[in-house]
């Protein structure tokens, strides 16, 4: 295997000598849009709603009421979430105050090998988001020990919470501001809508392998 490595690299390196390389020219710059918060929110909503994301705007205080309404309307009886997270704590408090209007809360606490049954049978999963990208209408998720990677993939309804102050204009801006370059988080996801396919006669169908619905609570 080592010889393959050196042979490939040698072949590439040998080709380099003798053939002039075009100096990397100055690359054109794409102007970064200067959107204010309202414009970013509008853009994000337009983009995400265009791909079947359901968006509920609310204040942090008003979250409880809207959340309960959504739960009732979607008939969500149980909800997988991340324990010891900001919004996880809020859910637990809400459940304590009014257990009748809240779904059963199931923390994602076991290793995947030991909780597949639960993961594949819950009605919905809730995650926080690290931010969002207005230009493309994308949520930024950084799964970790509290909110594992599959929490936003397996349950048929994905509920996500986004602080509107964390909306970036572009992906490029997000990369710079989040300071990812090193070390990168184990997994970073951009999610722009529920899963979809158009492999049968180009007919767009939502809900193929991942979530069938994406519901965003946009906290103002």
């Amino acid at each position: 295997m080592d010889t393959s490595r050196s042979q490939i690299l040698n072949a590439l390196r040998n080709s380099r000598t003798g053939i002039p390389f075009s100096e990397s020219q100055d690359l054109p710059k794409i102007p970064v849009p200067e959107w204010n918060l309202e414009e970013k929110v509008e853009r994000l909503k337009n983009r995400m709603e265009a791909v079947h994301t359901e968006i509920h705007e609310c204040t942090e205080k008003g979250f409880g009421k809207i959340f309960r309404e959504v739960i009732k309307q979607k008939k969500i009886t149980n909800l997988l979430y991340g324990k010891k997270t900001n919004w996880g704590n809020k859910l637990e408090a809400m459940r304590q105050r009014g257990p009748k209007t809240m779904p059963e809360l199931i923390p994602y606490q076991k290793k995947i090998e030991d909780c597949k049954e639960t993961l594949f049978s819950v009605d919905a999963g809730l995650t926080q988001t690290m931010g969002a990208i207005a230009e493309t209408g994308s949520l930024i998720l950084k799964p970790d020990g509290q909110e594992p990677r599959l929490l936003s993939l397996v349950p048929p309804i994905h509920l996500a919470v986004l602080d509107s102050k964390r909306i970036y204009s572009t992906f490029g801006e997000a990369i710079r501001e989040e300071g990812w370059s090193r070390p990168m988080p184990t997994n970073v996801l951009l999610i722009s809508g529920p899963s979809k396919t158009a492999d049968i006669e180009q007919t767009l169908v939502y809900g193929i392998h991942g979530p069938k619905q994406l519901i965003l609570f946009l906290i103002r």
Binding site: S4, S22, P28, G145, G172, L189, K196
Partner: protein
């Protein structure tokens, strides 16, 4: 000759793509930027690969190098055997098609199941993909429904796209749960951070790279990029060019296997870097531009030939204009060089390419190379007895075209009888296996001209 499926799609798709780039100034700037990044990247390819490897390893990703597809296959098989895998779920990967990996794993007792809906349909029906982005584009809904009835879930009603999608969802979710191995491609690998990036809409890619205990990512060596900052322009031209979307549903950046404290994600991540002729392309300054390709498929969607004949006609893993320049270089000019001849050089692909690959220039260069190689190796053979059939054909053609009476007689006989020739005639079979046989017009051109009242001069 026209496949109605293709016709419908390919009038819609280029429109969708152009809507994405409404401002032609923006389009040009983006193409220059994306093309510039790819050119810069490819010119530093060995350096970037040597940067990518240690950064991946530091993240816990195991890196393997393969010169040939055979070597890559055996690397994957070893990993699968160590993982004691019986079932592997696969995300879309053109490199795995190059390797004919599914076939190879099956021979070794491991089921490799495609999970992208289009790829799944094709695999279940024992076909090959006809497009790199939309593998089942040549099939209509009724045909796919039949595949579902016969081979996927006979008990389920699967008539509409929605019903079939739901059926596939249920069948494949069970497989994702059980598979010990996940196999994926790589759209971009970021050298500075050791990050593998995957672009997809369905979520099957995320399943394959997250659920099974072991994940193997397959990547052509040219897919590396330098910095994270290179990603946004490349991602945007890729998704807009491929399917006319501002972004796909998922952009998945994987930097390490499951870490301490994490509850899911694969325990092992392997990256297989495949050469398979790419370093040979690197030798030539022009042919090297083949490596700029980001596999968006725009050249196919805009090609007047591809959109009429479909992907199977090319009889190679990569169809369309990119296939015509890629396949002869991967498989060798002597075996696949003929693909470079099958182009009118109209240049629609060059205009569509988001990274500005000079496809027509490369085609000409390949034709030149092929001619040279023939002079060196095969010329005598071509003129020899082996091509007696070809010789007779040309002699007959010459005779027919120099004797008007014979030409007319032949044309009128053929126009009346040729449509009764069966497609499966041995002489026609190598053509008709993947293509429709062209039909003679019922009336010869001379007759049509006469009837139209145009006087012969």
């Amino acid at each position: 000759m026209d496949n109605p499926c293709l016709k419908r799609v390919f009038t819609k798709l280029p429109e969708k793509r152009w809507v994405m780039f409404l401002d032609s100034g923006e389009l040009e700037t983006l193409r220059n930027l994306a093309g510039g990044i790819r050119r810069d990247t490819v010119s530093r390819l060995p350096d970037l690969l040597e940067e990518l490897e240690p950064n991946c390893q530091q993240n816990g990703i195991q890196v393997h190098w393969a010169q040939t597809t055979e070597e890559a296959n055996s690397i994957v098989l070893n990993i699968a055997r160590k993982a004691d895998a019986k079932l592997a779920v696969k995300g879309k990967s053109m490199v795995s098609e190059e390797m004919e990996l599914n076939h190879f794993l099956a021979e070794n007792g491991i089921e490799a199941l495609e999970s992208d809906l289009g790829e799944y349909i094709i695999q279940v029906d024992h076909e090959l993909p006809s497009h790199i982005i939309m593998p089942a584009i040549h099939k209509n809904r009724e045909e796919i429904s039949e595949v579902f009835q016969k081979k996927v879930a006979p008990a389920k009603k699967s008539d509409t796209a929605e019903e079939m999608t739901e059926t596939a969802r249920q069948v494949l979710r069970d497989k994702f749960r059980r598979a010990e191995l996940g196999i994926s491609g790589v759209n971009f690998a970021v050298a500075e951070t050791g990050t593998l990036c995957l672009v997809e809409n369905e979520g099957n890619g995320r399943f394959c790279t997250t659920m099974p205990r072991v994940h193997v990512a397959l990547m052509g060596i040219e897919k590396v990029v330098g910095k994270l900052e290179d990603l946004p322009p490349l991602l945007t031209v890729l998704t807009r060019s491929a399917t006319g979307q501002p972004i796909t549903t998922y952009f998945n950046m994987i930097s390490s296997p499951r870490q301490d404290g994490e509850k899911d994600g694969p325990e092992e991540v392997h990256l297989v870097l495949l050469d398979n002729g790419r370093s040979r392309m690197y030798e030539d300054e022009l042919l090297r531009d083949t490596l700029l390709c980001i596999r968006c498929g725009a050249c196919m969607n805009h090609c007047p030939v591809y959109t009429r004949i479909g992907g199977h006609a090319y009889q190679s893993v990569y169809p369309g204009p990119i296939g015509k320049i890629l396949t002869p270089q991967l498989e060798g000019i002597d075996t696949a060089g003929y693909l470079a001849d099958a182009s009118s050089l109209c240049g629609a692909c060059v205009e569509a390419c988001p990274v500005k690959i000079p496809i027509t220039d490369i085609l000409l260069k390949l034709r030149h190379k092929k001619a040279q190689s023939k002079k060196e190796h095969h010329w005598t053979e071509l003129e020899g007895a082996k091509n007696l059939f070809e010789k007779i054909t040309w002699k007959g053609w010459k005779f027919a075209f120099s004797q008007p009476w014979f030409y007319r007689m032949q044309a009128s006989i053929l126009s009346r009888t040729a449509q009764f020739l069966p497609d499966q005639l041995p002489m026609l079979r190598s053509w008709s296996r993947f293509r429709m046989v062209p039909r003679f017009s019922e009336k010869p051109l001379h007759q049509l001209v006469e009837e139209a009242g145009i006087a012969e001069e």
